[in-house]
Each structure stands twice: as C-alpha cells, then as structure tokens.
Amino acid sequence: MKFGIVTFPGSNCDYDAYHAVVDALGEEAVYLWHKDHDLRGSDVVILPGGFSYGDYLRAGAIARFSPIMREVIAHAERGAPVMGFCNGFQIMCEAGLLPGALLRNASLRFVCEAVRLRVENADTPFTNRYTRGQLITIPIAHGDGRYTADAETLSRIEGEGRVVFRYVGGPGDADEWWSPNGSMNAIAGIVSAAGNVLGMMPHPERAVDDLLGSSDGIGVFESILSRVAA
C-alpha cells in the first residue's frame, strides 16, 4: 500500500510519518510537495504535524489553500482515507474536512509530553486494531490543541461515535476525562461522518518504537493497512 505524506512549508513531522510507514509498518511512502497537483497514486494521504506557513493567521488557515489540498479533499470525497496528526488535524478543520476548530491551549502553554488516550470507537478504519476502551500512550506536542465546536456539532459527533480518542487521567483513572489542552469533552481525535477522515492532536507516528517510549501508535497505521488491503 502507498502512503502519500504532504510536506507544507513548515511541516516537521513528515519524516516521522515516513519512518512510521516505511520502517515500522513496512509499506511504501512518498512525499507530496504542497505545490503538487497529484497524489501520485497514494492510497492513504497523511497531513503531518508541524507549523505550516508559520501558523500565520491561524494554525492551518493558509495551508488549506495549497494546491495539493484540492487533490486531498477530492481524495477524501471519494471515500479514500486521509489522516491528519497535530497540524494536519488543524488543517483538516480549517479545510472543512472535519467539524470544529483547534484553539490555543487553555493553559496558554505549549504542551509536549506522552499522554494517555482511551480508544472510544474501535470500529473505524483507523482504530480496528485496538479494542474499545483500550488505554494507549501517545505523545502530544502542541500549543493550539483545544478542540472546540458548537453544542450541536459536539452532540452530533458524540452521538455518532465519531470521537475516536479521548484524553484520560491515567491507568487507574480510565473513566476520568482529563484534557491537557482544555479540549471540549477531552476530545483528542475525531473522524468524519463517512468515517474515512481521521484528525487527532496526538502523534501516533512518533509512537512506533518501544525504544522511544511507546509503540502504541502503530495501531493506527496497522488498522488502515488492514482496512485498505481487505
């Protein structure tokens, strides 16, 4: 399977995503430059983390107008998988691929640490290798990760099971929501209505080696591999 990893000016997790796909998953990956007009046969598109366009105006606001985004949106509209991590998630919200927006952390601090997530829905193309309620450890590194949506949107995505990852306290407090950034309902990651677009603030691509603290993130990649290959 071929993964296309978009590089915007200011992306800094594109190499991590490449490492996760090629070295950890053993699949093929290509870098797609933001000015490209085609996805070069990619089955799955990844919008990586970073600070595209210096976060000018708002995080993700300018990147969504990059030429490649027209192709990414068309790919998503065809029902093909697109995943965005961190800045990728912010770009997706700005582009209207996912509802809501990501605001400055409530603490006003950049938070860089491994956090506990609970898998809320294991029946999506990106989470089928996990089990519902499973606790996983994945790092976050962001200053603008406070997921915000209006009340109606929030109740819709909750009701439709589209909140796939939620921040939780710790191993002993699995039921306690805890948000490192002030996200509404401690939301860490959501999927689109059709289920083929995933956006999450944590970095699964940085959690694919036990040596680096956790390999819990590989499940996201294995899930999409099993789904697309099936």
């Binding site: 105006l57 708002r58 107008f65 927006a101 605001l103 603490s107 006003l108 915000t148 209006d150």
Partner: protein, 85 residues
C-alpha cells in the same frame, strides 16, 4: 477605481473560553485596574485594496473575513474603518 484601506477587528467568539483574554484581565486587575471586567485579545487586520467605492471595498473585505481572515466557528469580526488612500 480608488484605493482604500479597510481595517478589521477579529476577536474570539463571545461565550468561548478565552484564556488569553482572562490572563490579561487578571494582570490588569493586579496592576491596579480593578474596574476591568473583561478583556478579549484578537487581531487587527489592515487590507489595502482597489475598489469602485467604499461600499464595494467593505463588502469585499467582509467576504475575505468569511473565507479566510476569520474562522466563523470561533471568531467574530467587525469592519472597524474604511478610508480612502
């Protein structure tokens, strides 16, 4: 066609948690301004553009706000001024 300078105020939508505004509110009170009730920190954008008249310049800038300069999910905007250059 004339040239105009259109100034826009963009602020966090009312009702949304605004930690930056709250931090500034607290700082101002500590500094000796106890009368301060609320502060919202936003952006001030100045657009210089060509347009047939000031109404057209304002209309066009409003459109820019809806499409890019502001995010309607989280921000409100208002045209602060339109002046001829």
């Amino acid at each position: 066609m004339s040239r105009f300078r259109v100034a826009v105020h963009i602020v966090p939508r009312r009702g949304l948690l605004d930690p930056q505004g709250k931090a500034v509110t607290d700082a101002l009170r500590t500094l000796g301004f106890p009368a301060v009730r609320d502060v919202h920190v936003g952006r001030h954008v100045v657009v210089e553009m060509d347009a047939a008249d000031s109404t057209a310049a304002e209309r066009s800038t409003r459109d820019m706000c809806q499409k890019l300069l502001a995010n309607p999910i989280i921000e409100d905007f208002e045209i602060a001024s339109v002046s001829t250059l």
